[in-house]
């Protein structure tokens, strides 16, 4: 099976994990471990990135996981770029999940500011993974400025609604030359499998795992679902076809 490749790195797992909303850092660490993920995202607002003893950072083994810092809460490109620079200066980590989310309620990404920030950060050498609405043109624009992936949302973040942006996601997956990571709104393992079956390269899950009654078990469920979908893709399923028709109303007269 093909492996997930983002920028210059190859990953065994197509599941990325977010670290918010867990009831304890220990639970988060166990869920991360069980999920088999290799990429873990943390909000710069939530951690003291320069401090290795930060309660959340200390729970993530950086030898095992690629730490993907994110700029959640940034109102505009300027704020996101500033956060990114400070984070890189403190940690040396160049990978960045770019989030420009001026609306504090649905945390929907601002397309104009995201593109602006991506352009600046790519030029400065960051590996940029931008969180976007499922907008195919924006996805291509970001690819053009050199982002490592695009990360379109399946539905509003934390909503557990599954894939509500299907028509646009299909176009993004069809047109994209960089990996497509479906992010936000995946509420069940079947939603994650759905995304991979559609052709997404990876998925990012946080709320569905963190707020489950048993987050560790749910992390495992997502791992299995993503693997199952990957395997199914490799097995090359037949296309869905409309119900077969037994009679041939147009050609039934042919007897010879």
């Amino acid at each position: 099976m093909d492996k997930l490749k983002i920028a210059n790195k190859t990953f065994e797992s197509r599941l990325l994990i977010g670290t918010g909303k867990f009831s304890s850092n220990q639970t988060m660490a166990r869920a991360v471990e069980v999920s088999g993920t290799q990429i873990v995202t943390v909000a710069l607002r939530r951690v003291d990135i320069a401090n290795e003893n930060d309660d959340m950072l200390a729970a993530i083994d950086r030898k095992k996981y690629l730490l993907l810092t994110n700029t959640s809460g940034a109102r505009d490109a300027e704020e996101a770029v500033r956060l990114a620079r400070l984070s890189r200066a403190a940690t040396g980590i160049e990978w960045l999940k770019l989030e420009v989310t001026p609306d504090p309620y649905y945390l929907l990404p601002d397309p104009a500011e995201t593109l602006k920030a991506a352009e600046i950060l790519v030029k400065e050498g960051f590996v940029v993974l931008p969180y976007i609405n499922a907008d195919p043109v924006l996805a291509k624009r970001l690819e053009d400025v050199g982002t490592a992936t695009v990360m379109p949302l399946a539905s509003p973040i934390g909503s557990n609604q599954g894939i509500q942006t299907r028509a646009s996601l299909e176009i993004i997956i069809e047109q994209s030359a960089v990996p497509v990571v479906v992010d936000a709104g995946l509420g069940l393992p079947s939603h994650a499998a759905d995304a991979i079956e559609m052709g997404a390269d990876a998925v990012l899950v946080n709320t569905a795992i963190a707020t489950a009654k048993d987050p560790v078990k749910m992390a495992q469920a997502f791992k299995l679902a993503v693997e199952a979908a990957e395997l199914a893709k490799d097995a090359q399923p037949r296309e869905k076809i409309k119900a077969a028709s037994a009679s041939s109303p147009l050609t039934g007269f042919l007897r010879d």
Binding site: S23, D48, P104, G158, T207, T211
Partner: protein
């Protein structure tokens, strides 16, 4: 360009600033079936009718159902986390005459004001306890606690704190903008009461006595760019049910017109202060308080719900599971309270006197992660 209507106009149109008796009668006529519908109607979204049903006397029989729905929403939106903050009191000198307040200018009390250096000492104490989220509190001491004073202080505090909010006397839009540039990211400004007449009765003199001006405050705060706007009514002045309707309209207005700022609600319940005759107030029972919190959560899924140490340890520990997202801990409510052993008068009597570490431990035992940092000073450029 379409002119924005001010909230002052809205509250008049909705008739929430006066004639509360009529409002109350309407609430008394709400039926159980209205409440049942409201609990599950568009979870976490607001409408006046929905909120009215949830705060109605009829909803009293549905508190358990409301609590379960509110807890579910809160966990979905915030997870099992509680943000911790600490207040630092700067000055108890005041030019206002608010009948419910210990710092009322007419009260013969020993007053205190801290220099920037002294505030930093208090701040050091709470930073060592683990706090990264600080709230600066001051009464209306304009000559001493100037905008410039807060700006200077804020620039210093940024070295140790990731979030700096203020709960001081009302400033102008330009002054708020100046403080935003100095690193202040949140402002709490309570209307105290949305009832014009009640407001006049309790605010006898001083700059704060102007109801209309007070009402404009949150708009100015948001327009100045602040990220967090804390709203609240001083619970006990007027009928809490109608206060809640006013608060919700205010929040809804701010969310629509200033979509980049986040609104949070606080629940300051009147507690005994010096020289205060508690008989004249409409004190809220614990059940009233819980109903109000649940109703707001069911209408505003993403709003912060904030609780101070005015409330007892027992109640706070219970409320955490019902929708509260942020609490203070280990608070001193007198200027210099963290470093100075002397007893200057507190603004209100602290009911939960546990140390911050103990509060954090109690949260963990309850299955909640105490969050010390949920913002970063790097969001603001200085």
């Amino acid at each position: 360009m379409i002119q924005r209507v001010s909230f002052s106009e809205i509250i008049k149109q909705k008739g929430l600033d006066r004639e509360w008796d009529i409002r109350r009668q309407k609430l008394d006529h709400i039926r159980p079936e209205d409440v049942e519908r409201a609990i599950y109607e568009r979870p976490g979204r607001y409408s006046t009718e929905k909120l009215a049903a949830l705060i109605s006397p009829a909803a009293r029989d549905y508190l358990e159902q409301m609590a379960q729905a509110a807890a579910e929403l809160t966990i979905q939106r915030f997870g099992k986390t509680i943000t911790l903050y600490a207040p630092v009191y700067i000055s108890s000198y005041c030019c206002n005459e608010c009948l419910y307040c210990g710092f009322n200018r007419g009260n013969k009390i020993q007053r205190c004001r801290l220099s920037i250096g002294e505030v930093l000492k208090d701040a050091d104490v709470i930073a060592k306890e683990g706090f990264r989220d600080i709230l600066l509190v001051s009464s209306e001491d304009r000559e001493f606690v100037t905008t410039d004073y807060i700006a200077k202080l804020s620039k210093k505090l940024r070295e140790k704190f990731s979030s700096i909010a203020i709960e001081i006397y009302q400033l102008s839009r330009d002054e708020y903008a100046e403080l935003f540039k100095a690193g202040v990211n949140g402002v709490t400004l309570y209307q105290e009461t949305y009832n014009r007449e009640v407001y006049r009765r309790y605010h006898r003199s001083g700059p704060k006595a102007d109801y209309e001006k007070r009402l404009r405050g949150p708009e100015d705060i948001a327009a100045a760019g602040m990220r967090e706007i804390g709203l609240g009514a001083l619970l006990g002045l007027g009928d809490w049910r109608i206060e809640t309707l006013g608060l919700a309209e205010h929040a809804d207005y701010l969310m629509k017109h200033f979509w980049k700022s986040r609104v949070s609600f606080s629940f300051p319940r009147l507690r005994p202060a010096q020289d205060m005759d508690s008989g004249q107030f409409q004190m809220l029972t614990d059940t009233d308080l819980v109903q109000m919190m649940l109703a707001l959560r069911l209408c505003f899924a993403d709003a912060g719900l904030v609780l101070s140490t005015r409330e007892s340890q027992q109640l706070r520990d219970r409320l955490v599971g019902l929708g509260i997202t942020k609490i203070s801990a280990g608070s001193k409510t007198n200027p210099g309270g963290y470093t100075d052993g002397t007893d200057t008068l507190e603004q209100f009597e602290v009911a939960d006197t546990r140390m911050a570490a103990d509060v954090a431990e109690a949260l963990r035992e309850k299955g909640y992660e105490p969050v010390w940092k949920d913002w970063d000073s790097a969001y603001t450029k200085i």
